[in-house]
Symmetry: C2
Subunit: 363 residues, 2 copies
Amino acid sequence: MHKNRHRYCVIMCGGIGSRFWPYSRARLPKQFIDFLGTGRTLLQMSFERISTVVPKENILVVTNRRYADLVREQLPEITENQILLEPARRNTAPCIAWAAWHIAARDPEASLIVSPSDHVITRENDFESSVCTGFEFVESHDALLTLGIEPTHPETGYGYIQVDDAIDGGICKVKTFTEKPDIELAKVFVRSGEFFWNSGIFLWSVKAIREAIRNHVPDIAAVFDSAPEGTFADHAAETEFIDRAFPGCVSISIDYAVMERASNVYVETVNFGWNDLGTWSALYDMSPKNRDSNVTQNCSVLTYNSTGNIFAIRGEKLIVVDGLKDYIVADADGVLLICPKEREQEIKRMVTDAKVKFGDKYE
Amino acid sequence: MHKNRHRYCVIMCGGIGSRFWPYSRARLPKQFIDFLGTGRTLLQMSFERISTVVPKENILVVTNRRYADLVREQLPEITENQILLEPARRNTAPCIAWAAWHIAARDPEASLIVSPSDHVITRENDFESSVCTGFEFVESHDALLTLGIEPTHPETGYGYIQVDDAIDGGICKVKTFTEKPDIELAKVFVRSGEFFWNSGIFLWSVKAIREAIRNHVPDIAAVFDSAPEGTFADHAAETEFIDRAFPGCVSISIDYAVMERASNVYVETVNFGWNDLGTWSALYDMSPKNRDSNVTQNCSVLTYNSTGNIFAIRGEKLIVVDGLKDYIVADADGVLLICPKEREQEIKRMVTDAKVKFGDKYE
């Protein structure tokens, strides 16, 4: 396939994945793990998936500085210039702004896709054609485009996007972004046909996103505009500048900073087997089950009177379980978690409790 | 305290402890583990306890050949002559017979106490005086004496001994031995005041036990009587003989082979904080609990909505648990077991299943 050299990708992979603790850990978050047992990490899968559409040398990875070596190991084909190392966590808006300024210094005509690194997409061909459609749209319109996933069930763990009438094949104006709904509202959303899951995947021209950032979060734009001429085209100068200036950015998500404020926001409704792998339950739901409806990740399991569980173990281990229903059993790197799936929203608090009580090594 | 040089002890430590799997394993059974976190293994505690009554050089350890090095490491003060290595598992009668013949070759006037290595005794002074009383009795009577524990609750996991009227301070003739009762019968037993728990600790003179074995299991006596003169006083000759002859012994318990058949059987009723550590529940019951009634062995635990559990982990590990009530969570040497305490009698079957499905390494 022809790859347009003006097309770029920004893969964001700085998160900790604490909802998958203890399997995902601060020092080895889930995007750097072979989470699905495919032999490739989630980051590697994201890189390969997008590299069918975007030239490899145009794929940037933005991550926290502590994960630099993990990125270099897992993506040996990319250069230092393609790895943007954040000196501090500032949510997605400053990260996306940096990437936009970085790309603009190389190619003012560029368009880009911004994507998390830790979701799963099962139908790669559909993904590829959706992304091409999106690129064509943002290359021909002054538009900020987000990909909206056709909902398959009334999920309460996702944000939803309400669409207006279609203006182009599968592309609509956005009417509203909504927070995670309760189950009743989620059912209404799904029935209506007007609501789509917010995937966190965006496409835009570098010109449009820089303009939107300047309009809606001028403080962040001012940080990057303060860089001396040529900074973003010179690796050493850029690193020096980012170390100094980036921590001064306000911490805010791109959704809140830009997407919910701008008027030129569009959604492309898509359907390519997306799962955000946001929770153990989401992983359970998408995974193949054995005849007792248990899911096992990388381990041998012997179960009795046990159904609906997910077992995720790092390292060689036999799990023998009796009388567990709908639990998460995760064991990695010195921590064993046993927790009902319905209590998984408490895992973040458990991580904090463990840190307070037993120290950073369990984070 | 004066230690009578005619007094011997036989510590039996050849069992696998499979009811404590995966914490107790075929290659490292529970008697060789610091099971209570005291810094001493159960075997070492048994040895020290009896060495206040019996000269150390008169303490014999009988075990399976595969555990020879474990015994040597844990009890460096004993000589090769004090370690009897069984070439095959034949239950307690052949093991006790061998020990009796071995001791008789050294001291025909000897008396001995036979004890498992894997129980717990919390009041050592009471133990010591009970054992001395027992020795004095078997040294002055033609008697096979067993220690009967005053029951503290209607336990269904133990055998019971019914006593006749006392004939000597705390020593009675045995009326019957009973199998493990159901809970209703156990309650009747405890209320009656006539029933005591069968501890598996025996005292007798070497003369009395040899005579009883010759009378009640002559096939076993014949095996040891077939040894050439001097065999049991010569380490090399004894080893050679045992390797050849011991596997030919019938596999039978001393209770069934002798105690339930002989007429000169007595019980000394005792009370010294005995627990046979036979099951996870027994260990749970005797262990100190935290404020949520959980018991932890060698691990850091963070619990939510969890009570009545026992957590036993080999190695450094943090356990985080939500929503478990009355479970066993045991993790050691490549196996994690999660099982309701009330299903613990199924653990032996699980070990078998694991062996069939995944091989010997998990035994």
